[in-house]
Amino acid sequence: MVGGYIPFGMQEALEILAGGGCVPYAGGTDLMVKESAADTRYVFLHRIRDLKCITVDAEYFICGACCTYTELLRSRHTPAILKEAISQIAAPAIRNTATIGGNVANASPKADAALILMVTDALVRLQSKRGVRIVPIKELYLGRGVADILPDELISEFWVPLSRARLPYFYEKVGARKALAISRVSFAGIADVSGGRVNHVATAFGAVEDVIVRREEIDGMLTGLSVAEAQALKGEYLAAYDAAIKPIRGRVSAEYRKAVCGNLLGAFFDSHIK
């Protein structure tokens, strides 16, 4: 077939990719916006059932890379924080085809589903003819639009720790337009506060730097503290992020982005560290 292959199973897809010169096609909503070369050959992934699972085990929410946003919104297993972010992505026609795997593989700092996988410290399962790799999502991002996915590899699944995915969360997307907004600044925070102690805090900022921002060392300032101690540290915590975040210049000025980040972080802190 001119222009691509339509494998029925994972092994067949991995064989084709191992041969070189092909681009994985999931939902196409990032690929089709770019002008493709005349000799582009796609490997269409939509027939591969292994890439469509949505389930939970004792520890993880597990979803296949080719689950569409519509499928994830419909599943009772999908964590609320992920549903919230997905429900604000684009409009129904896009959500019906766009996949979570495409969102991550595209490696855009604006990717909204990827932001949730970052804040929950999800694991990415990559598969090739050579074998399987499991990588923390943070390590997958090498730069703007560059993910550590080799040409013969496919993302097969995401594993989201339930201990993170089910924590109280804060999610906000400050966008230009309501529907179809490629977010200008997005923020997700989760916090585990119980028995007067801060057990875990994680935050992620989208569309600010070249890759989604996730700074465990700054969030770690609060871990293990009593709520009172953490509240006393609020100024220092916000200042640490203010110093760390280096917004890229874009349509919206760097200063504006930074101010929005600070406001979102403050709002998360006030509503969840208590």
Binding site: G27, G28, M32, P92
Partner: protein, 158 residues
């Protein structure tokens, strides 16, 4: 290695022998002469090119032909033959929901997708279901009213 791309287009079996990387929008218009499928942006932003793929609303400018293999595609030309279309058509006319008409094929298919999922949608559900379909003329209120009217008058169809 696979052969040609086979799918069902407006109820008929078709075989497409061109490139799997071609855009469904271009193929529908240029190969099959289905010019009710409009091109507004080719960036997934406007919904003028919307069709139903296996009953789900998709923007045909965002779909490569390989993705269509084995699927059922319905464009406004095929949908026109249904009683549901007649109900929407009447409602759009009676509420004066059409001006230039460019957005309407996509809008009607988006309305079908909303009503197929929820035969008695509230206004917010309709607006969110149509949120990817832009209309430069009407300001949307008449269109939303038309979908409400179709839901009421076409009761039992969805």
């Amino acid at each position: 290695m696979n052969g040609q791309i086979k799918f069902i287009l407006n109820g008929k079996d078709v075989v497409y022998a061109g490139s799997a990387a071609a855009r469904l929008l271009d193929v529908l218009r240029d190969e099959y002469g289905l010019t009710g499928v409009k091109c507004g942006c080719k960036e997934g932003e406007c919904g003028a090119c919307a069709v139903l793929l296996n009953g789900q609303l998709v923007n045909s400018c965002m779909v490569a032909m390989g993705f269509v293999d084995g699927s059922i595609v319905l464009t406004i030309e095929g949908y026109k033959e249904t009683a549901r279309f007649a109900a929407l058509d009447k409602a759009f006319a009676e509420t004066a929901a059409v001006q230039c008409g460019y957005c309407i094929p996509g809008m009607v298919l988006a309305a079908e997708a909303v009503l197929a999922e929820n035969p008695h949608p509230d206004e917010a559900t309709i607006r969110s279901g149509l949120s990817g379909n832009l209309c430069r003329c009407t300001g949307y209120n008449a269109i939303v009213k038309a979908v409400q009217a179709a839901a009421e008058e076409g009761a039992g169809l969805w």
